[in-house]
Every structure is written in C-alpha cells, then in structure tokens.
C-alpha cells in the first residue's frame, strides 16, 4: 500500500519559517530608518520621526527621478541587446548540433562561472577607447555581458522544452523560417522571454561597478546615486534610497506576474509550473 503523504515535520516548518523571517525582517529596520535620523540602542523604535530623508530624496540634490530614469533606459537597452543577441544564439544552441558546441556554450555562459571583476578591469582600459559611443549604450554593453548568460540559459531551456515538433509541422505546411519563428516559436517562447527579461532588468538595475566603469561615473543610475551614501553610513538616507530602489523592482515583479497571467490564459505553456498543473489535470480524468 502506498503511504499517504504526511504533512511536513515541525522541524521543516520551523526551518522555513525561520528562513522567511531571516529574509523578511531586515526590511523592517530599513523602513523605520528611512523615517528617522536618530535611533540609538536599545530603542526598538525611534523616539523622533522625520521625513527629512524622503524630502531630500526628491529634492534637486536627491536625484531620485534622474536615477530611476537612467536605470530604466539602461535596463531597456540591455534587454533589447539580450533579445537581439540572446534569442538567435539560444535557438541555435537548442536546435542544432555542431562541433565545438560545448565550447561556444561555455563561452556564452562564462561570466557566470568566472568572476567578471577581472574582465571589467581590462574593459575599463578598453572602455575609454570607445568614448564615441553614447553613455547609455556603453553601460548597456557592460550590463549585457553580465546578463546575457542568464538570458541565453533561460531561452535555451525553453527552446529545448518546445522541441522541434511544432516547427516541423509548420514547415511541412509550407511556413517560412521567419513565419515559423514569429507564429510558432515566439508565442511558445513568451513565458521564458518574460522570465528572462525580468531577470535581465533586475540584474541591470542592481549593477554598480560595471555602470560606473563604462560611463566613467557619469551615468547616474540608482546604485551609482546610492553608493556614496552607502559608504558614508547615513543610515536614514541609504534606507530611503534602498526603498526607492525597491519600487521599480516591485513594479517589474507585478508586470511580470500580470503578463504571465495574461499569457497563460491565452495558451498552454510548457513552463515547469504549468506542466505540473497540466499533468494534474490530465491525471484527474
């Protein structure tokens, strides 16, 4: 007889709860700090509250708006670069067999496995010679190096899941390569593209060193604006900035889940979770 699934042990629940707290609790003092300037030990909550940090953030000096704007532009450019370079590359890697494939794949994923600091130190030297390129573009280039491995891996995996059967069916019906891509593969690829894009934008948002190097410190994205404060230890302002930094991430998350929901309503998707749901439905017959 099959053993019925027991509910997970108290230890597991305890472990997960503890970990959730570990992840969640640091945000509490962050929020509090952004509303106070003075908060000594052992006060659990500060005695004096103040909106100064937030006021500063949105003053001419705070540059919250500028930072958000620049971060967004760079992230979008990085995303475009990922789409242009990443999707065709992932497609080839997923659908073709050729000599040296392992090597090519390794090179594309290399920034994941080799600390990229050293490469960026070399690029620093190199970046200066590329100063005819627009700042936004050159920063996006640096971000592209860091994000491309994630994007290619995500898309590659989805291409593998899709397999070649739909494409073959479409080809047998006379569809051209471009039509196959836009009519067949793209819709099936969409969930992975959404996930990949989410990752790319989030990673791009959080880059400090590459942004700094490639723009020579002139591209004021949010991390570049925050950094001097983070190292200056002005807890209140750093906290306010950190929370501000959180806004685009949350918006992105929201957009991502929204788009995923719209998409999964439209069609059956091969992502892991959906497979699970589908299998369950199947087994319910």
């Amino acid at each position: 007889m099959v053993k019925r699934i027991k509910s997970p042990g108290i230890i597991t629940v305890f472990f997960v709860m503890l970990f959730s707290l570990f992840l969640l609790l640091p945000f509490v003092p962050l929020i509090i700090w952004s509303f106070t300037k003075y908060w000594p030990w052992p006060l659990l909550l500060p005695e004096k509250w103040s909106m100064d940090s937030w006021r500063y953030l949105f003053s001419a000096s705070g540059r919250a708006g500028e930072g958000l704007f620049n971060s967004l532009i760079v992230a979008v450019l990085t995303l475009v670069g990922n789409m242009v370079l990443g999707i065709p590359a992932a497609r080839v890697l997923a659908q073709n067999e050729f000599r040296g494939k392992m090597i090519v794949f390794s090179i594309l994923l290399a920034p994941l496995f080799i600390p990229y600091t050293v490469s960026i130190m070399g690029m620093y030297d190199f970046a200066i010679r590329l100063d005819f390129i627009n700042d936004y573009l050159s920063v996006a280039f640096a971000h592209l190096i860091i994000t491309l491995p994630y994007f290619v891996a995500t898309i590659w995996f989805q291409f593998r899941l899709i397999g070649a059967k739909y494409q073959e069916a479409a080809a047998s019906l006379g569809a051209s390569v471009s039509k196959i891509f836009f009519w067949i593969e793209w819709p099936l690829l969409l969930p992975a593209v959404l996930l990949g894009s989410f990752l790319v934008m989030v990673i791009s948002f959080s880059q400090y060193l590459p942004t700094w190097i490639m723009s020579g410190g002139t591209m004021l994205t949010i991390p570049v604006v925050i950094f001097p404060f983070a190292s200056s230890g002005n807890s209140s302002i750093v906290s306010a900035y950190s929370l501000l930094f959180f806004v685009p991430i949350l918006v992105l998350m929201l957009v991502y889940f929204l788009l995923m929901r719209i998409n999964s309503r439209k069609q059956f998707i091969n992502r892991g979770e959906d497979i699970a749901i589908r299998t369950n439905k199947h087994s319910n017959q």
């Binding site: 106070t36 003053s59 001419a60 000096s61 410190g217 950094f227 001097p228 807890s235």
Partner: protein, 412 residues
C-alpha cells in the same frame, strides 16, 4: 572554429595597436584656456555646462551645491552645473586610465581633491596646469602667501589647485556619557583602559583613521617639524615603533578588542549613533554640529581638540588635463571662491565648513557677517581651533604609516 580564432586575432591586434598609440603625447585641449585672459574665459564659458566631480556622501554638501551654487551660477553666468558624486580615489584612477589611454576629452571639469590625490594627479600630469592666478577672487581674497594654501600635505600646489575650504580634525563625544574628555593621546589611552570597548578609530587607509594615527605620531615624535620638510624614510622608521606601541597597547580595550576596526568614518559614526562607542572623530570641525542639526547625532554631542593640537588641512579644487570645458571650470571655481559663496558654505544649514578665504581680506561688512554666522552648538570657537592647529605631513609619510599600520597593528 577557424573563423572564431581569426576574429580573436583581429581583436587582439586592435588592442595592441591601441596600447602602442598610448605612448604618444597628446596636446592639451585646455591649454588655450590657460593662455586666455579672464574676460575671454568668462565670455566663452557663457551658456556652457560644467561637470563637477566630488565626494557625494554628505547631504548638506550636496544640497549646498545643488540648491544654492547651481541656481546662482545659472543666474549670474548662465552656466549649467552638474554634480557627479564620486570618491576622489575613484576619479583620480579614472583620470590615470584615461591618460594612459590617451583620451583627449574627458568628462570632468572640476574635481575636489587634496593630499595624496593631488600629489598623484600632479605627478602624473593629470591636471590642466597653474590656473589660480587667473581667478580674480583668488587674487583678491586668498592669502596667497600662506603655507596652507601653497602646500597640500607638504606638496607644493603651484597654482594647480585652488583652495576651497579649510578643516580641522576634532574628536566628538557624548557629554551625557563623558564629562571630562581626554586632552592628549596619553589621556585618551588611559580613558580607553577605563572604558573598554567604547573607543575605536577607522582602519587606515581610511582618511580619518589615517589622520588619527598621525596624531599619535605628532605626540610621540621628538621633532614633528622634521616631517614637514623633505621625505626621509629613516626618520619615520625610527619613530614608528612608538606609534605602533601606543596603538597596540590600546588595542585590547578598543571596541571589539581591536580585533576589527570600522572600515570607514561612516561606520564609526554609525557605531557612535547607535551608542556602541562613546567617541568619534573627523576631519571637519563642524560635522558634529551638522549631524546634531539633522538629528543624527544626540544633541549632547560636543567636540574637543588635543592640547597639543590637531591636524588641519586645506582642500582644493582642480581641473583635469582633459576637461571638456576648462573655461567653465575656472568660472565655477572663481565663483566658489567669492565671499558670498564661501559665507553661505559656512552656514550650518548647508555645510558649516570654514572658508578658504582670508578673513582679513574681506570687506568690513563681510567680516561682520562671518563673525555672526552660527556654527552650531558642538563647534568649538574659532580662536580655540586656530590656536590648536598642526600642519599635515608629506603624502609619502602618510602612505608609509598606512601600510605600516596594517602590518604592525591590524595583523598583529
């Protein structure tokens, strides 16, 4: 695969070609500006944009630049000022790399530097050249003969940088917890022993921590003035052990038993704000007042100087060799040296820092205003500060001490 290796080869050729080109010397864009007279300079600066690269970690300073200087500059000279927050070490490194890559037009117009940074910049020819003599306000209001204008950490400025402000090292303490602050390194040592865990200093090469150990040197040295002349490693080697002894004796009673030090002044201030330590320090006599005003420091915070004096230095503004707008840069620097701009800087509302101008050279009216400026509750009087001032020593000594501290104190 053949194709790939070809591409790589081409790329490498490209790279080596670039590094070969580095060796040629370039002509300076800004040289023309240095030859022009003031009228031409201001005229050509009209309607331009100036990029000001400066440390960006202080809210008050940022507000001073963005909310007061920038609009005024726009009004009076029609120049757009853009502040970029960056540490001096970082933009000096950037300049070095740009120099090596032979980049003729950079991004920085004005940079905020002093000490080691200035020395590196000047030695490696990262600066435009002597320009201070061009500035009317420099000529009129700055004491061009004084040592703290002509030497920056013992290194001659020679007009390559213009003085923006003067600061003095002070210790800050919470008067609720300490009634009678120590007045010398010896007393400090004794105090630390009595109050274990309540004192520490930022780990050198942090700027403040580095300055703290120089105070130890100052007090233990037989002849501090010897350090003000030419670099002599033997001199320092002879006396350094005493410095390490003092610091190592202090160590067991420091915060975290000296096993770890705050990485920066900010971390030390954080410890002070949270009450982990009872004393902090800083190369800015008005900083404590400032932080009381913004509510970050307890109002009971007071500052003190050592009986034998504390270090003081001047910080400067420079123009990089590849500044895209040297005319605008000079106009901005001149504006920053005007009495009204400097007096605004003294106000605790923004920065609270002492001005680089000579008070004697100001008009009577301005002098009255300066005297009436409220510099905050924790700032000690100008007379007491001036009478406890000691000069900075050469940047080589500073670096030697920093490395020595890591070897002899941190890793012991």
């Amino acid at each position: 695969m053949k194709k790939l290796s070809m591409c790589l080869a081409i790329f490498l050729l490209f790279l080596s070609g670039c590094s070969a080109g580095t060796k040629n010397n370039s002509q300076r864009v800004g040289e023309n500006s240095l030859k022009s007279d003031w009228k031409e300079i201001t005229a050509s600066a009209k309607g331009s944009k100036v990029n000001f690269f400066m440390w960006g970690g202080d809210e008050g300073i940022n507000r001073y630049i963005d909310e007061w200087v920038a609009p005024q500059l726009k009004d009076q000279y029609n120049i757009e000022l853009k502040r970029y927050p960056m540490d001096a070490v970082e933009f000096i490194n950037k300049l070095k790399t740009e120099k090596r890559a032979n980049k003729k037009s950079g991004e920085m117009d004005v940079i905020w530097i002093n000490g080691e940074n200035f020395k590196t910049a000047k030695q490696e020819k990262l600066l435009l050249g002597p320009f201070t003599s061009k500035l009317p306000n420099f000529q009129q209001y700055v004491d061009t003969q004084s040592d703290d204008i002509n030497y920056d950490f013992g290194f001659p400025t020679e007009g390559y940088e213009a003085p923006w402000g003067k600061v003095q090292f002070v210790f800050a303490y919470d008067s609720n917890k300490i009634s009678n602050p120590p007045k010398s390194i010896d007393e400090l040592q004794a105090w630390v022993k009595q109050n274990p865990g309540k004192f520490t200093y930022p780990a050198p090469p942090d700027f403040t921590g580095s300055a703290f150990i120089r105070h130890v040197l100052h007090e233990k040295s037989k002849d501090y003035n010897a350090y003000l002349s030419k670099y002599d490693e033997a001199l320092l080697k002879g006396e350094a052990d005493q410095v390490w002894n003092v610091l190592n004796e202090m160590k067991p009673s420091l915060w975290r038993e000296g096993k770890s030090y705050p990485q920066s002044l900010s971390q030390l201030e954080q410890l002070y704000k949270n009450g982990e330590v009872w004393m902090t320090m800083g190369y800015d006599e008005a900083n404590a007042s400032n932080l009381i005003k913004t509510g970050e420091f307890p109002a009971s915070t007071k500052t003190f100087v050592l009986d034998k004096g504390t270090l003081s230095n001047t910080h400067f503004l420079g123009i990089p060799y590849n500044a895209p707008n040297p005319d605008g840069a000079m106009t901005l620097i001149n504006f920053l040296l005007s009495p009204s701009t400097q007096m605004k800087k003294m106000e605790i509302e923004y920065w609270g820092e002492n001005m680089s101008l000579s008070v004697e050279r100001l008009s009577d009216k301005d002098r009255d205003i300066v005297e009436s400026i409220d510099r905050g509750s924790a700032t000690i009087s100008q007379e007491e500060l001036s009478s406890h001032r000691i000069p900075e020593i050469g940047a080589e000594y500073v670096q030697w001490l920093e490395r020595g501290w890591m070897e002899n104190v941190a890793n012991k």
